[in-house]
Every structure is written in C-alpha cells, then in structure tokens.
C-alpha cells in the first residue's frame, strides 16, 4: 500500500506535465539523402537525419511507448551539464577545393580535419547572484571548466574517440562570435575543442547509427550501415548538431554523414553513370515507419543528365548558386525497392576537365620557411566573387606554437605590396604558460572583389619535454584547421523571400549560401625532437661535467699555495714531499 501510494505521487506530476505540454508539436523525424555530382568525376553523398523534439528528459517515459525519437544517451549528459547547443564532427580525408569547385562539403557544419566538439554551455561564472566573492567566482569558473571537461569526455566515450581535453585549459572559449548560437541564449558561454589527431572509422559510425531512431536498420540509414562501402570513399565527414529545447521552442538534433565517391572505377567502365544499387549494393530501402519525411535529392550539374525514374525538379540556392534540384519522396510506396539510375547524356568516356570553376571564396594554409624550430604560416584567401567580403580568419594553436605578432603581414598577391588597411582588427588570446591552454588569433579581414590576400604569420615552436612528445614524435604533430568565417552570408532560405524565377539557373551570388565557415585542412608540423633513448645518458653525462667542475673548483679553492725552496738539481721536477721538514716553506696565511 505504501508502495502504491508512493508510485502515485511520483506519477501524478508527470501526467500533469504531459497534459500541460499538449500544444507543443509532436516529435518528428526527417531524413534525406543528397547526391551532388562534382566536376572531377566524383559524387558527394550526404545523409541527413533530423529529429525535432520537445523534451530531452525521460520523465514522461512511462506514459509513452518504449520508442522515442530522441537518444537519451546523447541528451542526458547534455541536459545534466546545461548544454544548450552542441556540435560534434569528425572529418577524415582532404576536401579538394580546387577540383570540386566547392569550398567544402555540403555538410556545412563539418569541421576541418579530425574531431571537433563545440557548443554553448551555461556560464555560472557570469551569474551575478552566484558570483559574489572572488573566490566564489573562481569556484564557479572552475565549475564551468569541469562541466566542459565532463561533457567533452562523455561525448568522447559515446563516440569511441578521445574528444576530451588531455590537459586542463585546452578548451577554447573565444570562438563564440565564429559559431553564434541558433537561439537566444543568456548566460551561456561557448566552448570549442578541436582534436586534429582523431580519425573517422567504424567505431565512430556505430554510435552514430545507434543514436538514430532507425538504428541503421531501416530507411535511409540502412544504406549507411555498411562500413565496408562507405569507408572506402575518399573524403568523409560525420557529425551531430543538437539544439536543446528552450523557452517553449522545440529542440532539434541533426546527424549528418557525407562522403565523396569516385564514380570512375579503377578498372572497366570509363563513364560516370551510376545508380543507387551500384553505390550502396542495395536498392532504395523501405522507409522508416516513424519518418515524417524521407527525401532523396539530386543536385543537377550543368551538364545534361538523364535520371530514371525521375523526380520532381525544383530550383534552389545551393551554396551560393541557383541550381536545379531533383527530389524523390521515398515515403511513396511505389519507389520502395526501386533502383534509380543516373547517366550523363552522350558520355562514352569521361573527359577529365582541364580547368575547374573556382569556388567564390576559398582559403588555404601552408607552413613555409620551415626549420624544425621556426616557421611561417602562409594563409591564402581568394575571393573570386564580384563583391567585397567581410571575413574573420581564426587560428587555434596548442601552447607550444607561439606567434610573432609584430611580424604578421598582409599582402595582396597581384599588387605584391603590404595592405595593412585590410586587416581591420586582430584579436589575440595568448596561451597562458606553462601548460595546456591554447593560443587563439582572430583576424578581421576585408577581402576585396577578385583578389587574393596572403597573410603571413611567423611562429616559433617551443621545445617539448621528453615526456610531452607523442609516441610517434618524429612524424610531427597536427595543428587544427584555420577557419574563415564569412560575415555576410544570409543563408539558403533567403530564396523563399526573393523571386528566383527571373534569375537564370547557375547564377552565382555567394551571399545566398548556408556555408558560414570555410576550413583549411589541418597541418602537420615538425617538432624538434630529442633522442628518446638518451634520458639516462644525458643525466649521467651532464652530471659528470658538473661533478668534474665542482671537483676541480673544490680542489683549487681549498688547497694552499706556498713557496718551496727546491734544490737546483731537483728544480725541473716539482715532485716534493711537503712534509719534509728540511725544506723551508712559506705558506700563505702563516705570515705570523
């Protein structure tokens, strides 16, 4: 009886809360597959899975079925650590900017290389009522740091990767302007932690699939759940973006997976024709029963393509270009189990293009003047558009890379002269020695139309201790990608407000793009390495030199010097018996 009454008290508020939230729209799940043929005979394949949800907590679990569209293993740690927004991304392989004609993958939120965690977390340090005294404030800041560490490590555990900071203070907090929040957040602080050494492999795909409501078993995710196929593709990126529900707004979590397939096989055919079954060794799957929409899209290239069975054609802005997009509704039962084939009209053999159309904006980074101890980063920002662009270029380095700010210079390539006027602002957040923290630099750049800017950042690499080197120290160490943030993009949704019918297909306006950031690739830097077999030898030898010096000094300082009368015949040899009392001596200090 006691038990039952207790359970009653437990359930009552839950029911009340459930009934109170009936005006909130129900949870919904959308999935899509986007195929984007690239000019160099490759195809970019993007899976997107989006879930809209109202409550991250399981309090109402009992009144529901066992199935929910939201993964508690992901949302619980976020809820517990007061994380409002979160993005995790893994990227492996290099995006070929020049040949693909795109500044980056279609998954606009994908990071540069390796793993990356970023998000917005509640800032207890800024809360006035809590931060009364200085020590209390420090405690709260530490608490912030602890929660950041906790959440990154928890995600690392979830995604089978070492995403957490290996040292204290490694999480950067100065990227809030680069990654603005989606909603209105107050008292939240941004955190950003790139892990350039991480790779993307099956162990990262497994948890990704298990977070999806369809679990990789049905719907589009069943095409994805084939690591043997998708990991043989070139460039790959995987990630999730979570926006927690707040102030009555629905939350959303989105997972993406994008890969780049080479359509020309090594042997056999020489044309680009492909089909779903050739790509995935499967035909179009049965839709996931809970999916509210399931769409396949093809971004039509400039060349003519024939597609069977064809879908509905729409016009959309895709990454700053007005393009035609063909769409199939996979919830339509007639298409289930079908195979869609894509062929380029009249293409017997694919002719590799001599020239490529360049993306409107791109950025690349190299390290020059390299000796093992110093170097210079050369950042090349290209603007091929008709308009001047306002950008922020950001760098984040581990503490052992130190910039020389007074030697930073900015050149326009064609004029080959310094253009300090284009660098409107520079934010520098140095790493605080001795350990752990990172150096961040934000350059506010104005890139004129049709121009190439060269930014040179000289730097020094500190010599690391024997124990701080990685096991494969001779290979070098990765530093995270640089990020070029475009401040003037308005997003692809802007197309709905403007009348696109009068604009010809293929028109480029770089502002109508969802790509707010362009990443450079990560960079491997040589570091000065000691000889790892030497510790004992060095300790012994250095100490020996020191002991020799000490011994000689001690000997010289403590011995007495005196005049000794030596018989003429003995003069050449100075071997004396000093205690021979027959020899007259005069010893310093014995004048009396």
């Amino acid at each position: 009886m006691l038990l039952s009454s207790l359970i009653l008290t437990l359930i009552t508020p839950t029911r009340v809360r459930c009934s109170g939230h009936q005006d909130v729209p129900p949870d919904a799940f959308h999935e899509s597959l986007t195929l984007h043929p690239l000019p160099d005979g490759k195809l970019s394949v993007l899976f997107e899975f989006t879930t809209h949800f109202s409550s991250p907590f399981l309090s109402s679990e009992l009144t529901r079925s066992h199935h929910s569209l939201t993964p508690p293993s992901l949302l619980l740690p976020l809820g517990q650590n007061d994380v409002a927004e979160l993005t995790v991304s893994f990227t492996s392989g290099q995006w070929d900017r020049r040949r693909s004609g795109q500044a980056g993958p279609l998954a606009y939120d994908a990071g540069g290389g390796g793993g990356e965690v970023r998000g917005w977390i509640k800032d207890y340090g800024s809360m006035e009522e809590l931060a009364g005294s200085d020590s209390g404030r420090q405690k709260l800041i530490n608490r912030n740091d602890r929660r950041r560490t906790a959440i990154t490590h928890a995600l690392g555990g979830l995604f089978c990767a070492g995403l957490g900071p290996s040292e204290e203070g490694e999480v950067a907090g100065t990227f809030g302007a680069i990654f603005p929040p989606h909603g209105k957040l107050q008292n939240y602080t941004h955190f950003f932690l790139p892990r350039p050494t991480e790779t993307l492999c099956t162990e990262n795909l497994t948890p990704f699939l298990s977070l999806l409501p369809s679990k990789g078993l049905s719907g589009l995710s069943s095409l994805l759940a084939q690591p043997g196929i998708i990991f043989s593709w070139g460039f790959k990126t995987e990630g999730i973006e979570v926006i927690m529900p707040m102030d009555g707004q629905q939350g959303q979590w989105r997972g993406w997976w994008e890969g780049v397939v080479d359509l020309i096989p090594v042997k056999g055919r020489r044309d680009r024709a492909f089909s779903i079954s050739r790509l995935f060794h499967k035909t179009l799957p049965r839709p996931f029963v809970e999916a509210d929409s399931s769409i396949m899209r093809l971004i039509l290239p400039a060349e003519k393509m024939s597609v069977k069975p064809s879908g509905e054609v729409r016009r959309e802005w895709v990454d700053g270009q007005l393009t035609e997009v063909m769409e199939w509704d996979l919830l339509d039962p007639t298409i289930t189990g079908e195979d869609v084939t894509f062929t380029w009209d009249g293409e017997g053999e694919f002719q590799y293009p001599w020239t490529f159309h360049t993306p409107p904006m791109s950025v690349s980074r190299t390290a020059t003047d390299l000796v093992a101890q110093d170097g210079t980063f050369l950042i090349r920002v290209e603007n091929h558009a008709e308009t001047e662009r306002r950008t922020i270029y950001s760098e984040l380095w581990p503490q052992w890379v130190k910039p020389w700010l007074h030697e930073i210079s900015l050149y326009a390539e064609d004029e080959s002269k310094a253009r300090p006027d284009l660098l409107t602002n520079l934010e520098y957040h140095p790493a605080y020695p001795p350990r752990g923290s990172t150096t961040t630099l934000h350059f506010h750049l104005t890139v004129p139309a049709h121009s190439v800017l060269l930014l040179r950042i000289p730097f020094t690499k500190l010599t690391l201790k024997y124990t701080e080197h990685r096991p494969d120290a001779e290979r070098g160490r990765e530093i995270p990608s640089g990020i070029l943030t475009l401040l003037d993009v308005v997003g692809e949704d802007a197309s709905s407000q403007t009348d696109t019918s009068s604009i010809p297909v293929g028109h480029v306006d770089p502002r109508w793009s969802g790509r707010k950031r362009i990443y450079t690739s990560r960079l491997l830097l040589d570091v000065p390495t000691p000889d790892f077999s030497m510790p004992y030898n060095v300790i012994i030898m250095s100490c020996t030199v020191m002991a020799v010096f000490f011994g000689l000094m001690q000997g010289t300082l403590t011995r007495r010097v005196g005049f000794v009368e030596v018989p003429m015949e003995l003069a050449p040899s100075l071997e004396l018996k000093v205690d021979d009392t027959s020899v007259e001596i005069a010893v310093e200090g014995l004048k009396t």
Binding site: P72, A150, L158, G162, T197, C201, S210
Partner: protein, 467 residues
C-alpha cells in the same frame, strides 16, 4: 490515474518474470555438466580487457589478434559494454589498408573482424601504460566516461588479453614506453584488494610472454602466455594483398579452437590448454594455475570468455528504506544493455549513470544483476543461483555502485562507484623527493633555499676553518 498505476505494476511484473525466466533458462543450461560443481565459482558477470599495445601499420597482426578475441567474446555473448577494447593504432581506416574499415585475421579474408558495430574504447594515443593501469585499478579522473571504466565487482570474472612486442618481464606500449610484469602484478593485486574480480584469466601473446605473468601474486588467477623466457612468438602467416602478417601463431591456434565453442559449451580450461601444440604455435606456451584455487578442468571457458547471467535475490533483511524504495521498487534490479536504450530506468540514480554508460551494445540481451544501492551493511545476502536451485553466502559487499548524491548531478560520471574513494589527481606514486623532504612545489622552494643557504654557510665555514 488508477489505470496508469496498474499499467506500471503490470510492466514491472512482466519484466521481473521475464528477467527471472531468462536467467532460469540460461543457468539451467549452464548447470548441465558431469559433476555439477563447475558453477560454484560464483560469478554473476563477465568483463574483458583486450589490449593491442603496438603502434604502426606493420603491427597489423596485433590489432587483428585483439579484434579476433573481441569478436569471439561477442560471439560467446559478452556485451560490448563489458568489453574494454584498447587499440593503439587505427589499422582499419589506415590509408595503407587496401580494405577500408576491415581487419582480417587470415589470408583468405573470410571474416571481417572489424565488423559493422565495433566499439573501441581506448584508441590511438589514449592507449598508454598509465591508462591501462588506471583501467585495471579503477583510479580514474572523475570525468572519465563509464564506457572507459572497468566496472567489475567481487563477483566478476575478468579476462585480460594483451598482445604486442615484449621481452623479459615487459611489454612495449606504442613503441614508446613499457609496462613491466611487476606493474601488472601490482595492478592486479590492487584489483583483488578492491574486490574488482572473482576470478581472472590472463592471456598474453608476445615474445617471452610467460615472464609477464611470472610476478603475479594475487589469488584466483589462471594465466597463460605464448612463449617461454628467451623464446620469441612468431606471426602465423601473411596476406599478400594486405602486405603484412595478419595474425600471430598462438592466437591463431587459440582462435581456431574457440571457434568450435558455442555459448552453451561445457569445455573447460583444461580442454583449452590441451590444444597447445608447440610445433603449430612455433613456441612453447606457458600455463600457470598455481594461483588459482580451482583446477583448469573445474572451470569452463565460457566462465571467462562468455557472458554468464545469473540472478541474485536479496534476503528480506536487506530491504531498502522507503526513500530508496521509490526508485528501486523491486529488490531484483536489472540493468539491461539492450539495443534500444530508451528502456533505461527512469529514476534519477540510474538514469544519471545511463547518461554515460548506455552505449548501445547491439548484442544479446544480457541481464546483469547488480548489487542494489545502499547495501553497505554487514549483512550477508542470500544469493539464489540458477532459479533458486542453490543458495550460498557471498562475500560481504561494501560496494554501492549507484550511490550518487542527487544534488551533485552536474558531475557526469559516478566517482563513488567503487568502495574506495579515489584520490583525485593525487594518485601519482609517492616520490622520493617527498620522502627526503625537499619540497617540489613553489612553496617548497622556500624550504629549498633555506637549506641551500645553510649549505653555503657550511661550505664557507669549512673553507675558513681550513685556514
């Protein structure tokens, strides 16, 4: 309102019955054997730590050894959440691998050991001697997620498999550091003292492997290694498409044998050791059972390499106080690691754990019975094994795995899961500096300088005195 309540009771009952019947079935299967004593070993759950300590592509075979063991464990029913897999390099997605996301353990490439649902817990640079020792002893930083912890208890059978390059009493990690046989022995002794295992099987495939377990001194350990002191262990064969050796001889032979076993197999460790053939294995494997109270023919292989499910029912004396009853309405608690993690328990205690631990294993539904919260008194619990067939007293437990302070929800991981509270950060061994009293921190520098001053004065006095 009433209907909801009734539904709740009904669901709980169903789950109870399901849980019990499941255990009943499984353990009855398990108890069919000749002498009936083999189930006496008294473990209720299984854990495994699989370590491949070598870096670089040419050490492909070590990754393959470990992954083959991993696959066997999963085939024998151990859930992913109970296997800690440490791979020092990523060969599956290495650019040199002609078969992306696949690792093969034989030249025919019949079975992809990496599979579709591998979960690597420690990978790359995270695999270090320190992380391995912390894993065994459970002395982690508070933020380490549950998937990277060995959450075993006094009724866990733990299987440790290590492979890499080694020598006399050491095993190399990452081509950078070594773990010595003494380190392993001390770590396992700590495990024993902290009641982190019931029985332990230690298998190692490396050169001079038997030296690695020669220093063990804790009870209830069976250990075996691929080669004797002064003897190398060799790889088995190459795959010419992959371009490197794909598996080591010892592990290859062991796996060939393990492939013949199923979840319900009654083969004993004695049968396992009987397959050792120095000619096929190209080395003389060693077996050590001197630390074990049970002879190898008295213990089944699946007691270590499988997942045994058994139920534990508390006696009425250990009924929880009402406040905890609210969250544990039945004395039979369960923690399912089923594919769908949405069935996580709803109460705050366990859900905060599931926040970190509910990595979906995607394997057989294994019901692992966990000692209930709040039991830290001296009362012995009655353990009813195999559907109330037998009852026996178990060791007094001092563990309270789910004792989270509800107010401290911001801390993600459960730091007090172990009976002994960890020293955070302070786990480094006592330094010699500490002993001789030379302070190492900034405050201590003051002491140093005073000492130095005294020494200078002494030296000066000596120099003067000589005059």
């Amino acid at each position: 309102m009433l209907s909801t309540w009734l539904w709740f009771i009904l669901i709980l009952n169903t789950l109870n019955v399901y849980c019990i019947s499941q255990q009943h079935g499984q353990s009855r299967e398990g108890s069919i054997n000749a002498d009936g004593d083999r189930t006496k070993d008294g473990h209720t759950n299984n854990w495994a730590v699989l370590v491949s300590s070598s870096r670089y592509w040419f050490n492909y075979r070590h990754m393959a050894n470990t992954l083959a063991m991993y696959r066997t464990l999963k085939r024998l029913g151990m859930p992913d959440s109970n296997i800690i897999l440490m791979l020092a390099d990523d060969v599956a997605c290495n650019p040199r691998n002609p078969f992306p996301a696949a690792v093969y353990g034989n030249s025919g490439r019949q079975v992809d050991l990496y599979g579709d649902a591998v979960q690597v817990d420690y990978r790359g640079y995270e695999v270090t001697v320190e992380s391995f020792l912390r894993l065994l002893t459970g002395r982690h930083e508070p933020h380490v997620p549950a998937s990277k912890r060995l959450l075993s208890d006094a009724s866990s059978n733990v299987f440790i498999y290590m492979t890499g390059h080694g020598g006399d009493e050491f095993l190399k990690f990452q081509d950078n550091e070594e773990i010595s046989a003494y380190d392993v022995a001390d770590a396992i002794e700590q495990m024993w003292e902290k009641r982190r295992y019931n029985k332990l099987l230690f298998v190692i495939d490396t050169c001079q492997a038997t030296t690695m377990y020669s220093k063990l001194y804790s009870p209830h350990i069976i250990s075996t290694g691929s080669s004797q002191l002064g003897e190398s262990s060799y790889s088995h064969h190459n795959d010419y498409d992959i371009g490197v050796s794909v598996i080591d001889s010892f592990t290859h032979e062991v796996l060939l044998y393990l492939e013949t076993l199923g979840k319900t197999s009654n083969s004993t460790m004695e049968d396992f050791f009987n397959i050792y053939d120095p000619i096929k294995m190209k080395s003389h494997p060693g077996i050590s059972t001197s630390l074990s109270s049970v002879q190898p023919d008295q213990i089944r292989i699946t007691d270590f390499l499988g997942a045994v499910a058994r139920i534990e029912i508390m006696s009425s004396s250990s009924i929880l106080p009402p406040s905890t009853l609210l969250s544990h309405s039945s004395s039979c608690k369960f923690n399912t690691s089923s594919r769908n993690s949405n069935t996580s328990p709803r109460n705050s205690d366990t859900s905060s754990d599931s926040g970190t631990s509910s990595r979906n294993s995607g394997t057989t539904s294994n019901h692992r019975i966990i000692p209930s919260a709040g039991i830290s008194d001296d009362q012995d619990k009655t353990t009813i094994v195999a559907g109330w067939e037998k009852s026996r007293k178990v060791r007094q437990r001092t563990k309270s795995r789910f004792s989270i302070n509800p107010s401290d929800r911001s801390i993600l991981s459960n730091e007090t899961y172990s009976g002994i509270r960890m020293r955070e950060k302070g786990d480094s061994p006592l330094l010699m500096m500490d002993l001789i009293g030379i302070g190492l921190d900034k405050r201590g520098m003051m002491v140093d300088w005073i000492g130095i001053g005294v020494l200078i004065l002494t030296l000066a006095a000596l120099t003067l005195g000589k005059r």
